[in-house]
Amino acid sequence: MGGVTRTPTNLTQGSATKGGIGESTLRPDGTLKVTGEFAYSSDMWHEDMLWGYTLRSPHAHAEIRSIDTSAALAQAGVHAVLTYDDLPTEVKNYGLEIQDTPVLAHGRVRHHGEPVAIVAADHPETARRAAEKIRVDYAPLPVVHDEATATAEDAPLLHPGRDDHHAGHVPHPNVVHRQPIVRGDVEAARARADVIVSGEYEVGMQDQAFLGPESGLAVPAEDGGVDLYVATQWLHSDLRQIAPVLGLPEEKVRMTLSGVGGAFGGREDLSMQIHGCLLALRTGKPVKIVYNRFESFFGHVHRHPAKLWYEHGATRDGRITHMKCRIVLDGGAYASASPAVVGNASSLSVGPYVIDDVEIEAVALYTNNPPCGAMRGFGAVQACFAYESQMDKLAAELGMDAVELRRLNAMSQGTIMPTGQEVDSPAPVAELLRRVKALPLPPEKQWESGDTAGTSVDVRALPGGLSNTTHGEGVVRGVGYAVGIKNVGFSEGFDDYSTARVRLSVVGGEPVAMVHTAMAEVGQGGVTVHAQIARTELGVTHVTIHPADTRVGSAGSTSASRQTYVTGGAVKHTCEAVREKVLELGRAKLGTYHPAWATAELLLEGGKVVTDGGEVLAGIADVLEDEVVDIELEWRHRPTEAFDLRTGQGQGHVQYSFAAHRAVVEVDTELGLVKVIELACAQDVGKALNPQSVVGQIQGGTTQGLGLAVMEEIVVDTDGKVRNPSFTDYLIPTILDTPTIPVDVLELADPNAPYGLRGMGEAPTLSSTPAVVSAIRAATGLALRRVPVRPEHLTGT
């Protein structure tokens, strides 16, 4: 059990009110989740409900000549079969930023798995069999599958006649968005370099692989509208995309968040939402749609696979002179979040380093590959693998220690980013590296059992595990490091606000707060933190979390590490307004009884109104009596601005988040099998509102980075076909693949953020991957320019 840090160090204590911020309070949904009673979107059930099923394209690119649904409709138990021709309004596309995604294919399919028709039947198997009877006449078209085929002069255009707001500045219509960033004088800086290293790196297509499949229940309502129970990351964004296609005003599409079985970016885009509503409105019956795992791989966007070309120079003493890079992200058939991913990849491509002279270009392509969009780390993951690989290469070229090189060039508060934006809060990059390096290394040869005299081998501790492929022969250890930078919140001028409603009343003689937001709880523990904030701000013990729905204003997305910052900020802001109202009521009702009502700074603590000197003036319940304070407010973080389209300059980001990893691996060099022994992380979180959740996020993010390093890739062939859409062939880390993950948490407050907190969910996903690969390089001496690293990359076979 060596190396396990069960309790994080360096965490501040909580506030005066029990269960407030800084404490590891338990999840309010914990009991329901361990008893099986928590209702996930796939658990929804309604009397007389039908099952929906989606027929998807077997081709990556084809013309649809005709669709014949008659045999499917004739099957007993089938209630509806809908195609493009059945869509009720002129609005037939949707999309997060660019409305380029057809609800159902019209005349052409652009990727393997694109929805073509939908079926509703009385049993899921009936719906599946009916879908098989739909006859679609496809005429395959040439497939655009990489940059060369996408930007060739005669390349088939994925979206001819584009009129989106990026169309005017891209070099080719199959480029979704291009963002250059130039700063300083790269040629002059290059001339000062004693060494120059360059490299071409590649990141495979990673899947979010949330465990709860896409699912939901659409119930037609008497007013002609629909009630939709669904797992998503952003209710109001869904609503904005769903209502126009249905031809309904937004108030007639009432959405309630169901239990969400993980998200990691994969629920930012719509999946079954519109299809379920269309079938429910057509049949007049509730319709449930649940994807199975095979369909889930086609039902959501993935992490952009990327090719990255980098050049760094340095003087002999290890100072980096300049950086040039070009990042090509494959966005697949539809835009999804590609433009924002380009913005992140370009603006964070330099990594957490001080480099004044840079030339950066990032593009996202339209191809016939599966659409790619949001996944934890969002453009910063791909860049981090490349720049950290370059740091290893540069250190080797200089004959320097790789951590020393990183620390020497590490950014800090006050550093100017390539975008010209100053990093204006703590950026403890060098300190995070120092911390992971200072940790004791795990003991060697842990497979050798120490409690027997002979040489007993526990193969479970070796690469290959119970496959019993080695007893230690050919096994080499390596240690590697990496550090990364992630932006927090929506960037580039987006109005990234959230809304919170807080109600304070007296129940059974006790003050009880109710917090109502539209925040999607996807597992991250936002509901826990909201209750903690309400306790801290209102001094109450009892807090109820109202189910998330569209009856309250938007909370923005549960992504970009932003919810604790932004919706947490909105809850804090609204609680402050509620507190003022309570004090106002108190002054009006009880002010004459004590002069402190008028003169002292007043707080709410332990269910009472107290002075800052600790004197109790009244119980909150006595102030409120039967009055109810109910306030809904919006809250915004400080504004950002777009990056200039030629220079990339602009105050584009809200906040940055930093993590560093040290990986210890053991490699069976004969078979190319890797076992990660330990993956230590140090991260600055500004303020840990719930330390246990913070550590859980870091360990979970770290493990997803490990998956990308050595296991996870959606394999797409040159015909654009997905080859491994299952958990049999797409491998995510099991408990046997995952090492101990010691976590060291720093809390250096960001003065601009609520409680000084730093959005922290994504940063650990960045540096985990390059740290593992760096450790494999150290063990094998191989260059390793692509992730995931596969056995054949290590054995050369």
Binding site: M1, V4, R6, G19, T25, L26, P28, D29, T31, K33, V34, T35, G36, F38, A39, Y40, S42, W45, E125, A209, F210, L211, G212, P213, V260, G261, G262, F264, N292, R293, R460, A461, V522, G523, G525, Q532, H542, T544, I545, Q692, S693, V695, G696, Q699, G700, G701, T702, T703, Q704, S726, F727, T728, I732, P733, T734, I735, L736, T738, T740, I741
Partner: protein
């Protein structure tokens, strides 16, 4: 077809079952027991793990007809199953229902209120040691893998009351979790084993 089997100690009957339906489908869609989860439906993720005559199995890979006349324990019945085991009547050997269990249909506003309150989550319901340990250790995030992990972890501690870390990893290697990185799941199983151990020692059993 009709299928009769015992679920969580009680006889159940499912009618109009299509021969291709899995045990998982029948539990979730026909018996109102959606606690066993449908993450992959191909036997790879373990989130539908149930006990079938005591043996942990993926309910998605068991045809409904195969469970005719047999005994199934799901996450919904785990707390009672663990309680019966502690009382020496696991597997439904003691057929009766105790008074408290028989009264579970009664409304209990206090319990509901306690369950609403994040600070004391879990205090209101009667949970097995493994269930409580998962809450306390922070092993639950999205929770979709949790039911299967609980059934598997409970079975591990039943047959190996003091598992080493290697034992825990081996026993839970068929259960995927995407949120936690497994560290807090290990913490939870260690905690549950230690609590079981101290309870056993405390009662002199």
């Amino acid at each position: 077809m009709r299928v009769n089997f015992r679920v969580n100690g009680r006889p159940h009957e499912a009618d109009d079952v299509w021969e291709g339906e899995s045990l998982l489908y029948v539990l979730r869609e026909r018996m109102g027991l959606p606690g066993s989860k449908n993450a992959c439906e191909q036997g790879e993720c373990g989130s539908c793990t149930v006990r079938l005559d005591g043996v942990p199995v993926c309910a998605c890979l068991v045809a409904a007809g195969q469970v005719e006349g047999r005994e199934v324990v799901t996450v919904e019945g785990l707390a009672n199953f663990a309680k019966d085991r502690a009382a020496g009547c696991a597997g439904g050997a003691c057929g009766g229902t105790d008074l408290n269990a028989a009264r579970q249909w009664e409304a209990d506003p206090e319990r509901a209120e306690r369950a609403d309150d994040g600070a004391v989550s879990g205090a209101g319901a009667e949970l097995s040691t493994v269930q409580q340990a998962f809450i306390d250790a922070g092993a639950v995030q999205c929770g979709f893998c949790t039911p299967g992990l609980l059934v598997a972890a409970d079975e591990l501690i039943e047959r190996n009351p003091q598992p080493s870390d290697a034992d825990i990893r081996e026993a839970l290697s068929g259960n995927l979790c995407r949120c936690t990185g497994y560290e807090k799941i290990l913490d939870a199983v260690r905690l549950a084993a230690a609590r079981e151990e101290s309870q056993t020692a405390g009662t002199g059993a």
